[in-house]
Symmetry: C2
Subunit: 293 residues, 2 copies
């Protein structure tokens, strides 16, 4: 229903589930393409399972007409967990319109939260504006880097350093891990934004080789430490409110998108008139707003 249901049935679903939510620990895992997020998520899930925790995974992947999911080799690899009832994996497809992921992902997280999973791991590509915002609304956000991709500078450009509660340098057996860590520490010292959200937390840097499960115990410990650090803090409460605010706003925007899509031919005509320079985009937006009420 989160992915395909009518807006009304989804609303009923969330209303029914809502009182049961708020118990899961939500961990965002983000980073540029190619840093090994999926492998890291998989390895972390296995570690958490071994500790007896129920693990939900929401993997945010834009849809591709190419793939229909078939090219998602890392998803297939994750099916090592297939026979384990304590792991539930959901790969989110974009629902074909802008904003779909921002709207649908928090709702998928709510479903897993209500279902009683102890941890919900949300893996997003850490580059797009929407995708970064999704990761940032987690209780603990892990920013993953890897050597040899110019990631230090690139991550700073993408604005993801400041959302990190824990840094992972994955593929740490590759050359350049030390250089990347030094570069990262330099940036953290330059950037007063980090650690300045009132909770006194300075994000640790954990080195991993996720394909060999190396460093995953240290990563899990760093997440636990952050969980303990923020428990009951104003920072944690602020994050809850921020997540709620994000969900509310996305519902309102999604309704607006649905209303616009429902205009169908009306929107087509307005777009044609704008393309023909008969109307400017604001005039068209005024008419569209008027017609959707």
């Amino acid at each position: 229903m989160v992915e395909d249901g009518s807006p009304d049935s989804l609303q009923q679903l969330i209303a029914a589930l809502w009182p049961s939510t708020g118990n899961a620990r939500i961990v965002g895992i983000t980073g540029s393409p190619g840093v090994g997020k999926s492998t890291l998520t998989n390895s972390l899930a296995a570690h958490l399972r071994a500790a007896g925790r129920m693990v939900g995974i929401v993997a945010v992947d834009p849809s591709s007409p190419f793939s229909g999911g078939a090219l998602l080799g890392d998803r297939v690899r994750m099916q090592g967990h297939h026979a384990d009832d304590g792991v539930f994996i959901r790969s989110m497809a974009s629902r074909g319109h802008l904003g779909g992921l921002s709207f649908a992902t928090p709702q998928a997280v709510l479903v897993l939260d209500a279902a009683g999973f102890d941890d919900v791991l949300v893996e997003t590509v850490g580059v797009g504006q929407s995708e970064i915002e999704i990761a940032a609304t987690a209780d603990t956000t892990i920013v993953t880097l890897a050597p040899g991709m110019g990631d230090g500078i690139q991550a700073a450009k993408a604005g993801i350093l400041e959302i990190a509660d824990v840094f992972v340098i994955n593929k740490a057996d590759a050359g350049g891990a030390g250089k990347l860590e030094a570069e990262l520490r330099g940036m953290l010292e330059m950037g007063h934004a980090v650690g300045a959200d009132g909770d006194g937390w300075w994000p640790p840097i954990v080195r991993t080789v996720a394909v060999r499960d190396e460093g995953i115990e240290e990563l899990a410990a760093a997440i636990d430490q952050h969980t303990a650090e923020i428990a009951g803090s104003e920072a944690a409460a602020a994050r809850d409110r921020e997540r709620a605010r994000h969900a509310i706003r996305e519902i309102v925007l999604e309704r607006s998108r649905i209303a616009m899509d429902a205009e169908g031919a009306g929107l087509d005509e307005l777009a044609a008139a704008v393309a023909a320079r008969e109307l400017d985009p604001y005039q068209a937006a005024d008419r569209l707003t008027a017609s959707i009420g």
Copy 2:
């Protein structure tokens, strides 16, 4: 005004400029972080300038509290064009809220179009949902890959292969360019989506070494070829309408965001009530919608 102006003044600006738009050739340049998009954009701009064309560049970069622009070394490099009146470069900062780039970027493009630039190059990170959509609304969209980053598969995951009119394999002097090209050709043959938009265009693959301006002439020729191919076609008209539709929708959504932000304390209270499980997110969205009218 596009970045900082009041909604009313922006609306007046666009209304005034709109009749003068529609003449520029809009070229989207996208790809994962680290593939060298900025260098490629810079080199292409220099080539176009040498051919006597006026070039506007809109670089879409999420803001970072770290950088305030200072870490954007590639932007600095671009200032080789600084003394040239025929090049105008604008680095878009996120305006601090989700959707900002989707809304502001098309308007910045309009301004450069109206100002009479022959080409407007729009450089976006090719990973996020919003960022990909921005690139896809160009007249010609260039998808940039680079060897050694697992980019073939990664690009397919991110859903950017199908928006390409021209592929660039940058850093083609690095090992693996041949392998990447073979992988890419394989994917293109698998993916019937490409070339199937009715214009019979099959995206060429151009190898470049942008830091040394190698392959840029071939890239410019490929863009020209695409421009000629789509000129006057239904595919080109459809792209115009799609760009208009995108602009109209983003204006409506932006107005909704502005209205929500204007609620301030009201939205804070609703978020707190949702976080406390007193309201579910849909109930809060209903109240927010009612209060913003």
